[in-house]
């Protein structure tokens, strides 16, 4: 099998160098166009933009003022979805905001108290997965979710409906801000998911179908304190 040294040297030779570059080439004038980085123009209407983009993809959006209102909104949605059981990230801020035990449904938390196999089985059976988004991207209506021990990937993937909650302060104008934040992390999460609307496909005669493998519905509650 070829070694790393050989593989890289082979590329250097193809580029007309005897030895591979060991110092990074100047990374100048790359990245997004200059005008894009001045994002203030989207700042004042970021929530409206997020809402419009999410709704354009069949998502639902609720803007609430207080944690109590967020809980009420969630209760209404769970009733509408006829959900009796949900799976929920074991996330301190999420718990503080919606107080899951007050929701009137059976809540399973994604943590080590339940064995892995059992957790996945639950995710596969319950109607709703509840998460706390790390960021929202206004320009595309995107939720950004970081994987952590108590923030399982399956929660936003297996149930038919994914409901995410976040504060309005976590909504940023464009992807640039999120990527800057990710870059500055001391340790990156093992997985970062950018979720924009439901799972979809147009592979059958270009006919749009929703919920091919993942959720049919992606609904979002934003708390604007």
């Amino acid at each position: 099998m070829i070694t790393q040294q050989e593989f890289i040297t082979n590329i250097a030779l193809a580029l007309g160098r005897k030895k591979p570059l060991t110092k990074g080439p100047p990374h100048k004038d790359l990245g997004p166009p200059a005008f894009w980085l001045e994002q203030n123009k989207y700042l004042d209407k970021k929530i409206e933009l997020f809402k419009n983009n999410l709704e354009a993809l069949t998502g639902r959006f609720a803007l609430v003022k207080t944690p109590q209102d967020a809980r009420e909104q969630l209760k209404n949605w769970l009733k509408e979805l006829e959900a009796q059981e949900i799976i929920c990230w074991d996330h301190p801020e999420l718990k503080k905001t919606v107080q899951p035990e007050e929701l009137g449904v059976t809540v399973h938390f994604w943590n080590k108290d339940i064995p892995r196999e059992e957790l996945i089985k639950i995710c596969n059976q319950v109607k709703v997965g509840l998460t706390w988004a790390d960021y929202g991207v206004a320009y595309t209506g995107t939720l950004v979710l970081f994987s952590q021990p108590h923030q399982g990937r399956a929660v936003s993937l297996l149930p038919d409906t994914h409901i995410a909650v976040l504060n309005s302060s976590q909504i940023v104008p464009t992807m640039s801000s999120v990527l800057q934040k990710i870059k500055s992390l001391a340790q990156m999460p093992s997985c970062i998911n950018f979720i924009t609307g439901p799972s979809r496909s147009a592979d059958i005669e270009m006919d749009l179908s929703i919920g091919v493998h993942g959720p049919y519905k992606v609904w979002v509650i934003v708390v604007d304190r």
Binding site: P20, L179, N193, D203
Partner: protein, 469 residues
């Protein structure tokens, strides 16, 4: 390549032309995708500036690939991933097969990846007794049909809903309705169980980010997320050129790729993987492997004439505007990568300028592909250069060589040229109908079999000019 066609391009194109279902489906798909792209690129401010940046970034990576690939490898290792390097396609397939065997994998779930088609991965795994489950809806459909992809973004576009229902009904053991929700729901149910059963998940890699050692997937269905969340092992396979220096550069390509491919601002899912799951995490793969494939890419890199082709992000936009692809459909190309970019990279990747060297001739050189390419690959220039390569390597037919030899003789002097043109004008007379030769004798028939030959004018341009000026 997954299989080398036994028929000549001319025959394959003819079959494409005679397949009215394929042609109707192709037209529908390419129109929809191309219109979507036009709309989406109008909505993003300053599309041309984004394109310029995209081209610059990809070119910068290609020219410094030794540095960025090394940086990527080191960073993947730092985050706990294993890196495997493969010079040839079969090496890559062997590496992946061995990882699967080490884990006693019986079932492997795969999300869509063109490079795995290129290295004939499924065949290698199946020969080792491993069941390979394609999970992209289109890939699932064509795997059931046992047919090759007909479009890079919509590989199953040649299958209509009745055929799909038939394929699914065989799996189900009962007759399924043909509406889209029923068909999708069936695939969802079958595949959901496979994700939870499989020991290994295999994905492609749309872009790797060197500064962090991240691997990214850009998908709509969510199957790449499924393939990486439940199986114990995640293997990502990438062509070695798919690196980006930084997250800033990722933002640019992420703005260009979905808009160019399907007209979306962004796909439903974009996942960024940094090695295996971390301590304390409950889901996600425990083991992460990255397989980096050369398979003659370094030869393309070594030839400055063709290096630009490595900028490609596999968006398929060039397929959708190509007047040839529109007519003959995807299967006529016979290669894993179809359309204009496929005609460029297939002869290069296969190092075959004879058989695969025919592909660059299936082009009108109109340049629509170059105009639409989000990373500004000069596709039609590359097509001409490849035609030239075929000729200089001596792979032209005897008849064609003779014709050009004769042509050269007459074209060399103005007297002989004038004489030849005058004679041809009189000789052609019995064949001309309304200004065209519609049916010529051999060797002219090679032209007139597929299009009319414009008749030679009575007066040359020079004679006309002299008369009027």
């Amino acid at each position: 390549m997954s299989s080398v066609p036994t028929k000549h391009l001319r025959q394959r194109a003819l079959e494409g032309l005679n397949n009215s279902q394929m042609r109707a489906a192709t037209r529908k798909v390419v129109d929809r995708l191309d219109n979507g792209k036009r709309e989406a690129s109008k909505q993003l401010e300053q599309w041309e500036e984004w394109r310029v940046q995209g081209a610059k970034i990809r070119q910068h990576v290609i020219e410094n690939l030794d540095y960025y690939l090394n940086q990527l490898i080191e960073n993947v290792k730092k985050s706990g991933g294993h890196v495997h390097l493969a010079s040839k396609g079969q090496d890559a397939a062997g590496i992946i097969r061995d990882i699967c065997l080490q884990h006693n994998a019986k079932l492997v779930v795969k999300s869509k990846s063109m490079v795995t088609e290129e290295i004939r991965l499924n065949k290698a795994l199946e020969e080792a007794g491993i069941v390979v489950q394609e999970t992209d809806l289109a890939e699932y459909i064509i795997a059931l049909a046992g047919e090759p992809p007909s479009h890079i973004i919509v590989p199953s576009m040649h299958k209509n809903r009745y055929q799909i229902a038939e394929l699914f009904s065989k799996v189900a053991g009962y007759q399924l309705e043909t509406d889209t929700p029923t068909l999708t729901a069936f695939a969802r149910k079958v595949l959901r169980n496979k994700y939870l059963e499989a020991q290994v998940g295999i994905t492609g890699c749309n872009f790797a980010i060197a500064e962090s050692g991240s691997i990214t997937t850009v998908t709509n269905e969510g199957n790449a997320r499924m393939c990486t969340t439940f199986p114990k092992v995640h293997i990502a396979v990438m062509g070695m050129e798919r690196v980006l220096p930084t997250f800033e550069d990722f933002e640019v390509l992420l703005a260009l790729l979905p808009r160019s491919a399907t007209g979306q601002k962004i796909t439903s899912y974009v996942s960024v993987f940094n090695g295996p799951r971390k301590k304390g995490e409950i889901d996600g793969a425990e083991e992460f492997h990255l397989v980096i494939v050369d398979n003659n890419r370094s030869k393309i890199l070594a030839d400055p004439q063709f290096r630009d082709a490595l900028r490609c992000t596999r968006c398929g936009a060039c397929f959708n505007v190509c007047p040839v692809y529109r007519q003959i459909g995807g299967h006529a190309y016979g290669s894993v990568y179809g359309g204009p970019i496929g005609s460029v990279i297939t002869p290069l990747l296969e190092e075959d300028y004879n058989f695969w060297g025919e592909l660059p001739f299936a082009s009108t050189l109109c340049g629509a592909c170059t105009m639409t390419c989000p990373v500004k690959i000069p596709l039609h220039d590359l097509l001409i250069k490849l035609r030239n390569k075929k000729v200089t390597k001596g792979f032209t037919s005897g008849a064609e060589k003779t014709v050009f030899k004769i042509w050269r003789r007459f074209y060399q002097g103005s007297g002989t040229y004038r004489f030849a043109m005058k004679s041809a004008y009189y000789l052609q007379k019995p064949l001309v109908r309304k200004g065209y030769i519609k049916f010529g004798p051999p060797p002219l028939s090679a032209w007139t079999n597929s299009r009319y030959f414009p008749a030679i004018a009575k007066k040359s341009f020079k004679e006309e000019w002299n008369k009027n000026h």
